[in-house]
Amino acid sequence: MTAVRVGHLYPDYLNIYADRGNIAVLTRRAAWRGHELEVAALGMGDAVVPGEHDLYYVGGGQDREQLLVAEDLVRKSEALHEAVGGGTAVLAVCGGYQLLGRGYRGFHGEDMPGIGLLPLETVAGERRMIGDVLLECELEAGEKQTLAGFENHAGRTQLDPGSEPLGRVLAGFGNDGESGFEGCRSGRVIGTYLHGPLLPRNPWLADWLLAQALAHRLGTDEAPQLEPLPDELEHRAHEVSAARARSRGGRF
């Protein structure tokens, strides 16, 4: 048994789209493989100690809550960069995804700083992008997987040239409704707009993140292979969600 240590950033502020569902999925899927997930809340003013966690999770919040945490996150920025440099994995969803970029430019000029952990910027748009989404991802060469979720964001996220999106949009808006891409991936760091929550209906991504976290825990470059689970309910839920995206995913 290995204890996987998760640092959950601002669970009191960033929790709007049922982010605790993602944590529940990671916890159970680790337990079913005989590992224990230890989840620590990292709130306002709490120190981030590089190397102390194997995975960071940042959820989404309403604009007001997001603004309240943005400044505090900047104070944690240096430690988070060091932790990620040391191989800690990160999953950031929706508002958390925006905060990992260089910043958010509001519609009325109100700006929000980011920490530049991902090579991207976000600018507010006039119309919200709301609806079911389906992506095709290839996190490991030759292993194509689909990711199904729900998006609800006003921000248009632009990736820097040459950086790697999380996936190609099969249905729905994605990062900006135009590029045909969604999310961003940099090594073991994943940022995405997809909630719903993300992991219950996309168990392959939950396992990928667990494997990355275990690699950090064990100090290996190569992520360990996790024992497969039947995932029958998960696949049924994925199919329904994917079908919704194909039939009613958003587009301009």
Partner: protein
């Protein structure tokens, strides 16, 4: 130039459509005539409302608006002839339909959708407005809570001085919204014995509306509703004018409380369960009082009241019973769970999750509901509706054994399965989302077990 048809002609045309809709079995005709009227001439709503001799009153809230409105109607009915959208059609078209069938009514009493409130306040020019609560709900449809609150703030600021504003002071957001109107009336709960030990996971407005510091709660009742105070002194719950004190919750059947008003106090025995219904009752009392009802009338009306359509219903099926409780967002579903657990948690549960527009297309909210208190007693879960598998995952990752979960997306199959699992003399608890509830009502009606909703809501 656009020619405006005579109002009488529009009314006749719209009423004809309602009758046709019912004869075709397409539903109760509760919104179709209003939709037609809104198409023909949206301003007709303003003119129809102006015909009501003593004006209109509107009620809006995320949770409880149908029940609160029905309670207020029960209080007012002996002395008033009401135009009331009792079937829950609460958009502009639904209110227009209720106005069309108002007959000789003298007072309009309307529940109003949160998104439609600003337009309807502008058109109806209500003499009284009741604001119940704002919780996270259908973010895909309404947007963030702050946006709804901001639009309400503007609507309240535009209210004429003479209009009565009755608001839930236990909701920090509504207390802030109501600051824009002079002479508003605060209602709320005052009984720390029925408070939650801590703020729930899904609590929304828990940071000071003025400075962003987390509130200190002397008592947290439902979600973020409670007796709050900003530790920096920037905001606190206003003094309550109408309050429920000394609350006693009696399982799945009853609740009672002391209703405290400036005119005196009166013990109320409510034939409905749960703290959320105590909130609904205090809201209805506050509104009825603003419309001139006396304390004795308020007490009598509340005690006569039985559940509004589909919100809480028991239906006999042979030797078994079905208990139906609508769920639609975390705050409401948490209260349904708390009420079930207080009354003895069920062994067999059917939860039906749909994702139509009226349910919210984004189903992530089920992960914010605290279903966990139901798990220790639960022997079988039947997951149903369009997103049945997703719901099953919610319970599985919550800790329910996979062997206890059955997935039956079809409502009819799920109902059969749930009843088969329920022992004779037992009760099948059913928690449906809105369109699943309508589907179940149709199903039960077609099996001769319940009357269609448009016949019962009058």
């Amino acid at each position: 130039m656009r020619l405006r048809p005579p109002l009488a002609l529009e009314i006749a045309a719209a009423r004809g459509v309602a009758a046709l809709s019912r004869r075709l079995g397409a539903g109760g005709g509760t919104t179709i005539p209003g939709k037609l009227l809104a198409e023909l001439d949206r301003d007709a709503i303003d003119r129809l409302a102006a015909r009501l001799a003593t004006g209109t009153a509107v009620i809006s809230a995320t949770n409880g608006k149908t029940t609160t409105t029905a309670m207020a109607a029960e209080i007012l009915r002996p002395r008033r002839r009401l135009a009331h959208n009792a079937a829950g059609a609460n958009l502009v078209s639904g209110v227009a339909s209720a106005l069309l069938s108002a007959g000789n009514a003298d007072l309009g009493l309307f529940e109003v959708d949160e998104g439609a409130l600003p337009e309807l306040m502008r058109r109806l020019r209500p003499r009284a407005v009741c604001l119940g609560n704002l919780f996270r709900d259908q973010l895909d449809r309404y947007g963030e809570l702050e946006l709804v609150a901001e639009r309400w703030r503007e609507a309240v600021a535009a209210l004429p001085d003479g209009a009565q504003l009755v608001y839930n002071a236990d909701d920090p957001q509504l207390a802030a919204v109501s600051e824009g109107h002079t002479g508003s009336v605060a209602f709320g709960l005052d009984d720390p014995r029925v408070a939650r030990p801590s703020l729930q996971h899904a609590a929304d407005s828990k940071y000071c509306v003025h400075c962003g510091t987390p509130y200190d709660y002397a008592a947290a009742y439902i979600g973020h509703l409670g007796d709050y105070r900003c530790p920096r002194g920037d905001h606190a719950r206003p003094q309550l004018a109408v309050a429920a004190r000394d609350v006693s919750l009696q399982g799945l059947d009853r609740a009672s409380f002391l209703l405290d008003t400036p005119e005196g106090s009166r013990r109320i025995e409510l034939g409905l369960p749960g703290l959320y219904n105590v909130y609904n009752a205090v809201a209805a009392a506050g509104l009825a009082r603003a419309l001139g009802a006396e304390l004795e009338e308020i007490a009598a009306g509340l005690e006569r009241f039985s559940a509004a359509f589909g919100r809480f219903e028991r239906i006999a099926v042979g030797e078994k019973r079905i208990l139906l409780l609508l769920i639609k967002n975390p705050a409401g579903a948490n209260e349904a769970v708390r009420t079930l657990v207080d009354g003895g948690a069920p062994q067999v549960l059917l939860v039906a999750l749909n994702d139509e527009i009226a349910d919210g297309r984004d189903v992530s909210w089920i992960w914010d509901v605290d279903f966990e208190p139901l798990l220790p007693a639960l022997r079988a879960l039947v997951a149903s509706g369009g997103r049945a598998a997703e719901l099953a995952l919610r319970f599985r990752y919550g800790g329910l054994d996979e062997g206890a979960i059955e997935v039956e997306p079809d409502l009819g199959d799920a109902l059969d399965r749930g009843l088969a699992l329920t022992p004779d003399g037992g009760e099948l608890v059913v928690l449906p989302t809105y369109t699943a509830m309508l589907g179940l009502q149709r199903l039960l009606a077609s099996r001769g077990l319940a009357r269609p909703y448009w016949e019962r809501s009058a």
